[in-house]
Symmetry: C2
Subunit: 442 residues, 2 copies
Amino acid sequence: MLKLDITSARKFLPENWLTSRLDALGTAHTMLKEGNGPGGEFTGWVHLPRDFEQEELRRIREAAGRIRANSQVLVVIGIGGSYLGARAVIELLDSADHKLASTGGPEIFFAGNGLSSDALAALLDYVADRDFSVNVISKSGTTTEPAVAFRIFRALLEKKYGKEGARTRIYATTDACRGALKGLAETKGYEAFVVPDAVGGRYSVLTAVGLLPIAVAGVDMEALLAGAAEARTALLVPGSENPAWQYAAARNALYESGKRVELLVGYEPAFRFFGEWWKQLYGESEGKQGRGLFPASVEFTADLHSMGQYIQQGERMLMETVVSFQRTHREILIPNDPDNVDGLNFLTGKSIQFVAEQAMRGTLLAHADGGVPNMVLKAQGRDPRTVGQLIYFFEYACGLSGYLLGVNPFDQPGVEAYKKNMFALLGKPGYEERREELLQRL
Amino acid sequence: MLKLDITSARKFLPENWLTSRLDALGTAHTMLKEGNGPGGEFTGWVHLPRDFEQEELRRIREAAGRIRANSQVLVVIGIGGSYLGARAVIELLDSADHKLASTGGPEIFFAGNGLSSDALAALLDYVADRDFSVNVISKSGTTTEPAVAFRIFRALLEKKYGKEGARTRIYATTDACRGALKGLAETKGYEAFVVPDAVGGRYSVLTAVGLLPIAVAGVDMEALLAGAAEARTALLVPGSENPAWQYAAARNALYESGKRVELLVGYEPAFRFFGEWWKQLYGESEGKQGRGLFPASVEFTADLHSMGQYIQQGERMLMETVVSFQRTHREILIPNDPDNVDGLNFLTGKSIQFVAEQAMRGTLLAHADGGVPNMVLKAQGRDPRTVGQLIYFFEYACGLSGYLLGVNPFDQPGVEAYKKNMFALLGKPGYEERREELLQRL
């Protein structure tokens, strides 16, 4: 299981950082477990790794098998929590670069998560002469970005394969009972998977939302779920030894002491989108009522040569959380150079991973010396089981953190503001009054 | 040329935000122009777009032509400013995704910017059965990450093409006269390009450091330089109408008023690494003496569904700078849906770019209403000329900003801290004392 090392944060924490929060953590824990705190109707993810419906899992596995058999590309249409989790897991377990990915299955592309017509046009070109399927993911089916993309890809599929052919290549992950996409899936006969009512978007990676694309990518989703279930068993034990309790308490104490930005640190390029997933999880859960640590992410050692200066000597409002994988898939030894022009022969025969480990240890000390507390979450390797543990760890700790902060970690009231303005400016029926007001301001 | 729109920041700025800073801006401007302020020995980039040596440019063009003719892949080995600029420009002008890129030339991969053996192994596999060349970029030639990668790729090239074949496929961008890499290039006969003494890493994209990979990618580097030269002419005119003066003054005023994080906002997935380049430029130039805005970047509208909640309602310490491209390369119109299940038929026949523009306008207002001042830098399109303008704008404004903040915008004293620890832990000769000290602490 995961281990949390807070050595390099300790001198920044008051002596009672954990003991003074045990009561509040106990309360938060119970609210998550029982689903009776603020936003408790969205805590379905807490027990899901144990309770995942076997029939849904079987259908996901079969659909993934069909897609792998008949498609070179899977286009995943979704925004926010409807794509970040799947993209995070798929890249973390393989590569952030399609060209360097080792999977033998279909390539996964994510669409409908923005409004770039150039990016969409490039993907339309790419799939034009390839066999592809679409997984459209939307609770309601009316969110602008994925809905627009789905109109376009659906039209392309129908043109390419006919209505019946398209029907068998569209997979809808949506509400179990209601909503535009659910209705469409029923009318048209698309295979549908469920976005559970009790799981909000940013906590949904271990539902069909994340699992179908993940399975299509060839990831062992049963191992992913097993890892999450292991973490659930280990972490739902209250007490000061619980690493999720320690993480939630430490970041809360650091926030109370004036830290304002939390950097999630990875040492693998493949970790980049896990950072994006984490940023949504924590930023959207805690960033409300004028509160919360601002979540950012960096890739070391690369960013030690870009963001490193700021981290070492800029505004002293930062804290770091490092996710460290103890095992690498492939070892590379540093070759000898008889000329030793770079002066690195003292590293001859050492593995790059060994160098990376010393870079990490050296950085932890340097940043702590510079006034940046940091913690290390130690994970085994980049395998599905460990990634399942990481996901559950961060989700559970996020629920605890939000409750410690005194916010509802399961709502996102601020996300509507830009949408309302956008609808008004686009001339959507029903937004006439706001439209007048905005046009006067512009 | 570029235009800066500060409408949505104005209510957050004191009336004299610009007038009170004109004197300081004038002084900063002169220091940049004359190179006689703190760090003045590193202001070579100020006049470089005008003074670029034609002979160096010709050699870059010819080398790029050779690489394009004989290589399927160019591996660019460099870290920090030695890769971010090239990666930013190449992706911004095409696509962040290799598979979706439209270039007919060699694929560009960046290596030696980290210590992931898995990422390196995947790239080694990829080039194994392809023709490739290497551009190694390092002022000294002794920075650990690129030096390790270069040992490995050099050995692979020599194995694959023989010593003489490898010699013609290695291009060294390094110091003009001294250093390990310069020496090696001379001994081995590699073609060498210059990292000018007067240009620091983060300001080096428009030197051979950035230009060789950029030219290999098929980008019109003359147009890029021409755009930068245009911006130079336009921006080196002192006065309150100067958009770079306005940008520097506004972000300084917002920092003084308590803002702590600046978000660079793009609306194109291809913009992601331009954000990374910008983060190094501003973070490394300003993040010292316990000061400076923390630089972060977001991709809208995608991240409105992940970071949007925090931006709208989290800690009120944020400001935003949006880079908006007025033209898109390809237009896509939203098709009609007779069933209108998603309720979006009011958008039928509208272009996606139109929707994106309304999303941006709506977001500017929503964020300003939520307490986040924002500015918009309006650029023409994603073409080399405009990108050259953007680069120069941000570089010049960064110099001004650093001087306004009262720091030396051209040093990076904090970057050594982790390196010293890493060397000590790796057992590098000369670091024995620090090693003892660190091992005791660990």
